[in-house]
Symmetry: C2
Subunit: 331 residues, 2 copies
């Protein structure tokens, strides 16, 4: 980020709420479906299909991110992307975001400006027509970004995670394991003792820049959620906690077993199975159906002793929570 003179970049505790809101609102474009936008008690968003899809997900400083690694722009982008992915995973098109920010008083105004830029540009890139339509601003010692995303099903039925049937193909759209690779680079190479230190791009090997981008500014294939629903997906969810854990959840909800084909999981199948935070779309389709952007990674079979198999064997990976044992530092 370019640095600014301190006088031009005050700490949030030294400026009015109105000044902070102005900085945000001048940076967030209107959403296509907005009937009433920011400035009143609530936003009003058109829902032509007669229903609204709604989800919420929060990023908390410490458990979810480090300021040495993530810029305000990165955090705005990621907070948007992870919520957009949940809307897409229902087969819906995202229409609007509400952003509840709890900010420390000593945070700089420029950080909030870049956060708003990240929200705007993530929406423009991943879900055109969607934008921030409302929010809340409060003070906290812990920077917390709670986002609610709304979406429209455009007349389609929602695609839940409990509809997978034996004989369906199991497919994914988006990356598997790249975000985990990025996090491994951060944890492995950009720390001084336990403290995170900023990334030196000159030290990145081939492929590591893309892995870091997948971790810090993920670009899940949001538009493919509606495509999958239209094509007849029987079940769908986004992969936030890793393929192993999330495919198990889908299998359990559907009362089936999911049998993965290891050869279809790319050059690093272990990481593809275990690594979370890519927010790829995991979907099942009837035999013979596979919309563009999806690739087959397995089959749905009748319920067996295990919810999840890979090449016919049980998968010994429980999921993904890399920060769980590492929250004493909050840099």
């Amino acid at each position: 980020m370019p640095s600014r003179p301190e006088a031009d970049d005050p700490r949030l505790g030294d400026v009015s709420e109105g000044r902070i809101l102005q900085a945000i609102l001048t940076r967030t474009a209107p959403a296509a479906h907005t009937l009433v936008g920011p400035g009143d008690d609530a936003a009003v968003i058109a829902t032509p299909s007669g229903s609204v899809v709604a989800t919420t997900d929060t990023l908390v400083h410490g458990p979810d991110f480090r300021l040495a690694w993530s810029s305000g722009y990165d955090l705005g982008w990621k907070a948007a992307a992870v919520n957009l992915a949940d809307v897409a995973a229902m087969g819906a098109r995202p229409t609007a975001l509400l952003v509840a920010l709890a900010v420390p008083r000593d945070l700089r105004l420029s950080f909030v400006e870049r956060l708003a830029d990240g929200f705007r540009e993530a929406c423009a890139a991943l879900a055109p027509g969607c934008a921030v339509v409302g929010g809340d601003l409060t003070v906290s010692d812990v920077l917390t970004i709670a986002v609610t995303a709304l979406g429209d099903l455009e007349g389609r039925a929602p695609v839940t995670r409990d509809g997978a049937r034996p004989g369906d193909v199991v497919a994914v759209a988006g990356e598997l394991g790249n975000a985990a690779h990025g996090l491994a680079v951060l944890f492995g190479r950009f720390r001084d003792g336990d403290a995170p230190v900023p990334v030196d791009v000159a030290k990145l090997a081939a492929g590591e820049s893309a892995a870091l981008a997948a971790q810090l500014r993920p670009s899940p294939p949001i538009g493919l959620g509606a495509v999958a629903a239209t094509a007849g997906a029987t079940a769908m969810m986004d992969i936030s906690d890793g393929l192993a854990l999330d495919a198990r959840r889908m299998a359990a909800a559907s009362g089936v077993t999911i049998a993965l084909d290891r050869a279809a999981l790319g050059t690093d199948p272990e990481r593809a199975i275990a690594g979370g935070e890519d927010h790829a779309l995991l979907a099942t389709f009837p035999e013979g159906v596979l919309p563009p952007g999806f690739r087959v990674i397995g089959r749905v079979i009748p319920s067996a002793d295990e919810d999840l198999l890979c090449d016919g064997l049980p998968v010994d990976i429980s999921g993904w929570d890399p920060y769980r044992d590492w929250d004493s530092v909050s840099g």
Copy 2:
């Protein structure tokens, strides 16, 4: 709250996410409009009128509440009520809440259970048919409750804050100043030095119990939002930051002056004008229109030098932020 054996009331850091979610979900009733509820990537809520009203508001430990004064039940109730009031203030009927909780690891499970009880009972009492349809659970050193409320306009136009016209009457539904009275009791009588101490109900004078309830478990007249819209309210908002500040906002948005009648403001007009957090509904109606539950407190006049007058004189009160200079303690 009844105390439980520690083995039966574990700290959140010692139990699984699934266990915590189960405790919450068994306590939250289904919402009338829910098509897909908790357990998938997102909720789906019916919006028969073709639009959805959406708002978000956050309670943060420290700036917004003290655990010595507020139980889990109180916080669930209040977090629901303040968001429901924003939906009502648009003239809409609340349909659903999404709750993003960020919880310290040493918080007890029973606290979260009572929080869920508070959400459920506030919805049942204030907005029947509305309930928690989704949420998010994450870890933070600072207890943070970020709520998004959705609502349906049932075919009505939204009532924004910019529609007040000269000649309209200014009216309110709900309490003015009681929540501030309650907070004054807490700050004035239930502290040991700077540290908050639990309320001893035996020490409360007549009227103080009601004032504390207004502060800790506010009951704004949610149903009257739709009533006001149907009756033809020209502008409406909820009073979160005090009548002085919020009436000024309405006057400025509408390009008019609001002239209050001091005699209509009850037995403590100063507190009624300055005190925030009652979440009463402030609305303007054409002359001759006044729906049940509203009382006239003034008139809309053409824009004058001042946005707000009381008995013809300027109002020298800027608003409401009682915790602003008192956040060193977080009990």
